[in-house]
Symmetry: C2
Subunit: 292 residues, 2 copies
Amino acid sequence: MYMTHIINGKKISQKILKEIEEEIIRYSHIRKPGLAVIQIGNRSDSTIYIRKKAEACKLVGIESKIYNFETTVSINEVCSLLFRLNNDDDVNGILVQLPIPEHLNNEEILSKISYRKDIDGFHVRNIGSLAMSGRTPYFVPCTPLGCLELLKRYNITIEGKHAVIVGKSNIVGLPMSLLLLKNQATVTICHSETKDIVNHLKMADIVVSACGCPRMIKKEWLKEGVVVIDVGINSIPDSTRKRGYRLVGDVDFENVKEIASAITPVPGGVGPMTVAMLLRNTLDGFKRQNGI
Amino acid sequence: MYMTHIINGKKISQKILKEIEEEIIRYSHIRKPGLAVIQIGNRSDSTIYIRKKAEACKLVGIESKIYNFETTVSINEVCSLLFRLNNDDDVNGILVQLPIPEHLNNEEILSKISYRKDIDGFHVRNIGSLAMSGRTPYFVPCTPLGCLELLKRYNITIEGKHAVIVGKSNIVGLPMSLLLLKNQATVTICHSETKDIVNHLKMADIVVSACGCPRMIKKEWLKEGVVVIDVGINSIPDSTRKRGYRLVGDVDFENVKEIASAITPVPGGVGPMTVAMLLRNTLDGFKRQNGI
């Protein structure tokens, strides 16, 4: 029987929030870090995510402000707000909650956020710097950064390890792959067109899954001692729950944990880390913009 | 015995030069495309590469101009030339021949080339757009683009194939990986920290090697039917040659060709494609800048 570490993202994220809070208190003679959040439309999941971010900001002492636009807003209106926020010294981080309505050009809007305030790390310049050797992005996307932080806090070596990433989205899979590559892992990127994904997973020292397929990754697909980071958050029907469903990851946690050396649960693994990294990015932006 | 295609990069590159030449003639009523090449210092290998580029330009009808700086030039002098070239309508492509002297900041200089004229594709914005799904870079780096073109002209499917890239340099390995990922390959990126590289290579449908280790990759490391693209250009001693050396790739060509379905030789494989793609990028820049 393998000694498995269940990676406690909730606990670590709380520790990080505490660290951020303490650091912000030290800078209170300057001002509070400021975060601007832009919501376009009123998707209920977006509203929940934004509320969670605002609550976490409050907890650590970051001044957050939410800007709401109707779904029908023009790109010019959004861009003129972004221009104003880019030039506002009280604002250290700006994020546009994704997804945005189809009629708006995602690329155009994200590129209008100054890459120096792009705390989501989705600006093409930040992704480019993440990809290139010898470059340092201003910001790394929060979910991949949270996964890296979990690995680091559990003293898991990355250099020279074979990491298999499942999913190549701009938000998780791609930047996660680039971040692990920057940390000297050998990286394999799998996705919906991948054939024989099991052959790749079977070789992996580290698996990061962000494909959105409930409990797809089985114990038999992995080697003993693998480290598993599960970014998936999928709801499946569950009649024993009052609300009729429960959340599971991309990984068959109950079985995989028998052979993994470390594994994140869902919920309570990667999820809470994303918000913590958002706050840390905001604090980092504040420090850089104030020459600290 | 496997039917092996020896990929003839020389022949294909000549065909492409012909295509470019014919297209440029069609636009001769507008003006000739213009390429600016900047050399800092006087490395003899750089001088040779630049001369080859200039000769190729002349052949197809691109107006090239070489700017030489002393090794001791200040970054401000280089940047002020770049500023002028960025704003010169006669210049459609700008490249700074790498490597540049150590005292100059590579990142700072490359980022001063307008990404719209960055025909080498090394600007952080072009690399970022190459990495991200749903984005299209203005330019893709010439050597990876040349490799892709070879695969296309030999009707080699990329989608769903497992591509193993050896090397993760900003110039070849990294952009090659991103380009194959954009073309829906499953991509594994190996490099100097990779353990058990043979295990990865053994699984590969397509291998692209850019590690600079003469004839490192052996027949026994690969599976039958593999497609091999060898970017390496290494000189090894050879007393039978008048000049005392000869050029070989990263791949043990003589043996690997027995099991590969397609393979590039060195020289005459990828090499000539790089210059051809540089010219095509320059022409593409010209067309975009003139609204064609």
